[in-house]
Amino acid sequence: MQRRCRRIASVTLVVALVVHSGSSWWSPAGAAEPEGAAPGQQDIHRRRQALSKKLLFLNTLVRDSERTRKIEVGDNPEAKDLLTAAREHAERARSQMEAGDLEPAERSIDMGLRAIGVAFRALSGGGDHGRTPRERYEELGNRIASFRQAFAQVVMSKGAEAAKFLDRPRLDALMEQGESAAQEKRYDDAIEPLAEAAGMLERALSKALEKETLYYRREFASPEEEFAFELERNRNYQTLVDMLIAQSPPGRGGRILLMQRLLEKAQDLRDRAQARLAEGDTAKALELIEQSTQNLRKALRMGGLAV
């Protein structure tokens, strides 16, 4: 008995230890580690693997990224030079790694990463997350248009009192300045006046609506419209339930079964609701579709999601 226990203990412990050292036993990083290598060799091996990943990352940035393509087709010479430099560093690092010169390789990779980072910043003009001046100009234009419309609505409901918060002549002058620069394709010059115009509008809206509460009431023009709303909600919840079931962790078979039953019930109620709607009985149709949604809600709660 004692011997058996000891055997079980030692086997289990060995399994535990082997799995615990899991990263080298299971992971792809550890899989290729040479067997019986000396500690120094293992360090070199790990360092080479880490550098390979870093180089892969650099190559992804200099070859396949969206921003790299923007530099290639764009007209920013500084960004283009930096991209070329980053590619040269990446190529040098590859040769150095092949020759086993890991330290110079790491330096080359770091320089390449720095160069591509500066290139991306040069492309975006400092802080525009890789957007070209034209994209930034267009984005500002959309923003201004939407805020202008919102401000017009506020002025319509509140009158001249609200209109005074916006310096209209200044806004028009800024817009004209920006638009004429853009017509000459000088998007860099167009951005500044447009950004100022957007800021003016935001401040004016902020002052005009200071300490206000807007109530958005829900109203339906007809029972059919309300049914369409409920049907849409029902379908949305169905999508969520399907996703919850698909992404459930293993070992929740019982719960999934219950969720599936609720799904079937909801489907049946939805079909009956649509049939009633077709017959013109909108009141009953609404009642049934709401019941169907309740079943989907139950299923979602069962999966841990509060709606």
């Binding site: 004692q2 226990c5 000891r6 079980i8 203990a9 030692s10 289990t12 412990l13 399994v15 535990a16 799995v19 899991g22 990263s23 992971s27 792809p28 990083a29 880490a50 990943k53 802080g127 984005e139 959309n142 923003r143 939407s146 919102a150 609505q153 409901s157 957007a198 800021g199 935001e202 401040r203 809206l205 902020s206 609506l209 200071e210 300490k211 206000e212 509460t213 807007l214 109530y215 958005y216 009431r217 829900r218 109203e219 419209e225 309300e226 369409a228 709303f229 849409e232 909600r233 949305n236 919840y237 999508t239 969520l240 919850l244 992404q247 999966g303 841990g304 999601l305 509060a306 709606v307």
Partner: protein
Amino acid sequence: MTINTRMLSAVASVLAVLVLLGFSAQHIQAADPLKFNRLLKKPEEKNLPPPRDGIHDATIPAVDTLQPPQPPLSQLPEGKAGNYVDWVKALESGKINPRFDRLDPKAEPVIMNLDIVREVKGSMPDVVYPHKQHTEWLDCSNCHPAIFVPQKGANQISMASILLGQKCGVCHGKVAFPINAQTCRRCHSKSKKPVKAEAKDKDKDKDKQTTDRRFGPQ
């Protein structure tokens, strides 16, 4: 002696199971950190160190050099969900002082003190969207017009779209508090009171003006 051997056997078995569970949990989490069921993280999974957070690649040796989030976050006001930090309180109390513009340390936010109340069908309380708390940290352009068109009736918002990472879900559930049973009432915060009670409320908050806007099915 027999007891000791049995104990050793039991301890080794428990150890093996724990190690196996830990190993598999780590690999399941790392599969897709932005999966839909990220919202269902358990409290004990909060603010895990980078090798175990399901976001970073645990096989890269340098992952251990990254700062674990829990020690610094535990210094901030406690929240009830997400990363368990109440960021609004942290900002109001001055515990954090984020720069409004990455490149300009002197930039000031345009704070908009406007609440939007959206009526909800059914028994759930209505939704209150406070611009103030959002604009203390975010720029108008973070949300308008790409996520929300700043016009009445122009935005289709539903719980499903939020849970699927659209509209409010662009931030909530990713970098702002998630949508779960603990956080429902943070947005659904205005109870459907009878008109009289609502009038009393208005008296309490005299400096707030109210405007009715009606909108169709959303």
